[in-house]
């Protein structure tokens, strides 16, 4: 048997605790950890600083690796102990003593490996509970051995099937605080299958969007211990712990040390290089190993019917959100022309739902865009000196278009991040599939957030006078925002993505950053066939 096929004992014991957890870890290669797991790992590390010790007649050896060809199983014994002529495994758990079948099975499987390796009978083992400092003896009787082998068989069957086992029932207490909850989405899955009413609001995710935004020409970014040091003109500008940063954005020529780059990538902190109002390149943190999901993505985008269904929903969502955005802006002013545009956008959204193919979708999208921006122009406060006739880009030729382009490029990086966190390939889109070399799936995801997030920031900074019309400078044959304005604009964008909105399907309130990630995972679940139909984010 190929050694890669060996199942780790800890994963097999997991099957009894939660089969989905086993699938994500053993098949999809999930590596998400939470503080419980980390604490257990660190306790191991501190214990293992001494490899062997003996006390009151017991000799302990730590970290003993064993494997079995016959069982296709491998494992590491926390402690192999010898006392009174017997040899047995001791498994450490950080919590308080309580009887859990999966702990018993873990000790039992360790015992089986030990029997095979030594040729001796192992009659019992122990689980040691750190929090309450007690040992519980586990007897390896016939019925436990049978249960352990059944768990092993069940684990193999899940791995063969290659898709997550269905959620058995309503999410249990153990789902709260599970390291894989962001990936598994148990509350939402149970809601979609009708097993429970409204899903609970998710706990804050692991991406808080705390951004180091660097817009200083000639700055140098270096690493010192666990911190980032930003220097300019020989002065230290800032000294920030890496633990306080979730993302780095650089929008001027800067120098980066390889140590800093390694640290960012090891810690999963993405780095985006912006220039001329777009994302020019990015450093992607270690790619999530989820091959089954990406295979599903490839199959999905190859299927015309499946990808068209999602593309229709994406465009419909985009148009409906353009409509909602104009409606909100027009609530006080009641401009008739905007009301007319709103009604026509409603019709176009309905048409998008029925579109024959992607080309006609693109036609509808273009038509809606022109109408929408004519309405958007009406919402700009007169007297601020911003004239806006229509959308133009590459390069943008007037201040409003420059701001729109800049807002979209900030949104693009957050959508790329959401797609990558969900384990999908950002370059393989299902609607933006006509042009190579662009992060097409991120652009697909971005459509439903354009008006509500990006356009909203632009309207806000203009109408509140946060950015003035004289803060632009010509570049090449276009125009761009000057330095100080860029920082203020970035601040306004960050404020927006931290504002909350209600998810149209799940009904809970989360911030836009989290919404993008939920939508990216939604796409993934539809591609894997776990959830049936994609629903775009629609603002209320």
């Amino acid at each position: 048997m190929d050694t890669r096929e060996y199942l780790p004992i800890s994963a097999v014991a997991e099957v009894l605790f939660c089969p989905r957890n086993f699938f994500y870890r053993a098949v999809e290669g999930a590596e998400e950890t939470n503080h419980h797991m980390l604490e257990g790992r660190f306790q191991d590390e501190r214990r293992n600083e001494r490899r062997t010790r003996s006390e009151d007649g017991r000799v302990q050896t730590r970290q003993v690796s064993l494997s079995s060809d016959a069982l296709g199983l491998r494992g590491v014994l926390d402690v192999l102990e010898a006392a009174e002529g017997e040899l047995y495994p001791v498994e450490f758990k950080k919590g308080r003593a309580e009887h859990r079948l999966n702990d018993d099975v873990q000790v039992c499987l360790q015992g089986l490996l030990l029997e095979e390796a030594t040729g001796r009978d192992v009659a019992y083992g122990y689980v040691y509970y750190v929090a309450s400092a007690e040992r519980r003896q586990v007897f390896l009787d016939e019925s436990l051995r049978e249960t352990a082998l059944q768990a092993l068989a069940a684990a193999r069957a899940i791995r063969e099937a290659g898709e997550p086992p269905p959620l058995a029932a309503v999410p249990e207490a153990k789902c709260q605080g599970c390291a894989l909850a962001e990936r598994c989405m148990p509350e939402e899955s149970a809601f979609l299958t009708g097993a429970q009413a409204a899903p609970r609001r998710p706990t804050p995710g692991s991406n808080l969007g705390r951004t180091l935004y660097l817009d200083v020409p000639g700055a140098a970014l270096r690493k010192r211990q666990g911190r980032l040091i930003i220097e300019a003109d020989g002065q230290t500008l800032k000294d920030v712990p890496l633990s306080a940063v979730d993302q780095v954005v650089i929008s001027q020529a800067a120098s980066l040390s390889s140590a800093a780059l390694s640290a960012l990538s090891d810690l999963g902190i993405p780095l985006y290089l912006m220039g001329h109002g777009r994302v020019r390149s990015w450093l992607q943190p270690s790619w999530n190993k989820n091959v089954p999901l990406r295979r599903a993505q490839y199959r999905f985008v190859e299927s015309d019917t499946q990808s068209l269904a999602v593309a229709r929903e994406i465009v419909r969502g985009k148009i409906l959100n353009q409509r909602t955005f104009l409606q909100r802006g027009n609530r006080e002013r009641k401009i008739d022309r905007i009301q007319g545009v709103v009604e026509r956008l409603d019709g176009l959204a309905a048409a998008a739902k029925e579109a024959e193919d992607k080309d006609s979708l693109r036609g509808l999208e273009g038509l809606a865009g022109r109408l929408y921006f004519s309405g958007f122009a009406q919402l700009l406060r007169a007297g601020e000196g911003f004239d806006f006739a229509s959308r133009n880009r590459r390069p943008p030729r007037d201040p409003v278009n420059a701001l729109l382009s800049y807002a979209y490029s900030l949104l693009t990086k957050d959508c790329i991040n959401a797609i990558i966190r969900a384990g999908l390939d950002p370059y393989l889109g299902l609607y933006h599939c006509e042009r190579y070399g662009r992060p097409a799936l991120a652009l697909d995801l971005m459509e439903e957030f354009r008006a509500i997030v990006a356009d909203s920031v632009v309207l806000n900074v203009i109408n509140r006078g946060i950015i003035k019309a004289d803060e632009f400078e010509p570049v090449f044959d276009g125009i761009q925002l000057k330095d100080g304005g860029r920082k203020r604009f970035f601040g306004a964008y960050q404020t927006r993505i931290r504002e909350e909105a209600v998810h149209p399907v799940f009904g809970y309130r989360v911030n836009y950053l989290r919404l993008m990630e939920i939508q990216a995972r939604y796409l993934g679940k539809v591609m894997q066939g776990e959830w049936l139909t994609y629903e775009a984010f629609r603002a209320r």
């Binding site: 503080h35 980390l38 604490e39 660190f42 935004y213 660097l214 306080a244």
Partner: protein, 92 residues
């Protein structure tokens, strides 16, 4: 996210400087032997682990005072301003 005031009293100069350097990677040095750290629970667990490995448990002491959401607002700071890291964006 967790917010702690961390105080330490370390008997040996070399170990004290190690503890200081470790804490600098996680938060803000606000006063002599006092740090404030605002971090994710995972980072907090990692910080505890690193400190446990550094200190001598019979002579040194490190104390974490947790600040709950409500008491964060009940803190009054006089004198020079200290900017805490870990809360929001850093725009340069």
């Amino acid at each position: 996210m967790e917010h702690y005031v961390v105080t330490y009293d370390i008997a040996d100069d070399k170990r004290r400087s190690k503890v200081f350097k470790t804490l600098k990677d996680y938060g803000t040095h606000v006063q002599e032997s006092v740090f404030e750290v605002v971090l994710m629970t995972e980072d907090y667990v990692e910080l505890r682990h690193k400190l446990l490995r550094r200190i001598h448990r019979d002579e040194d002491s490190v104390i974490f005072y947790r600040q709950c959401r409500a008491c964060e607002h009940d803190v009054e700071r006089l004198g020079r301003k200290v900017e805490l890291v870990g809360i929001g964006d850093i725009v340069l």
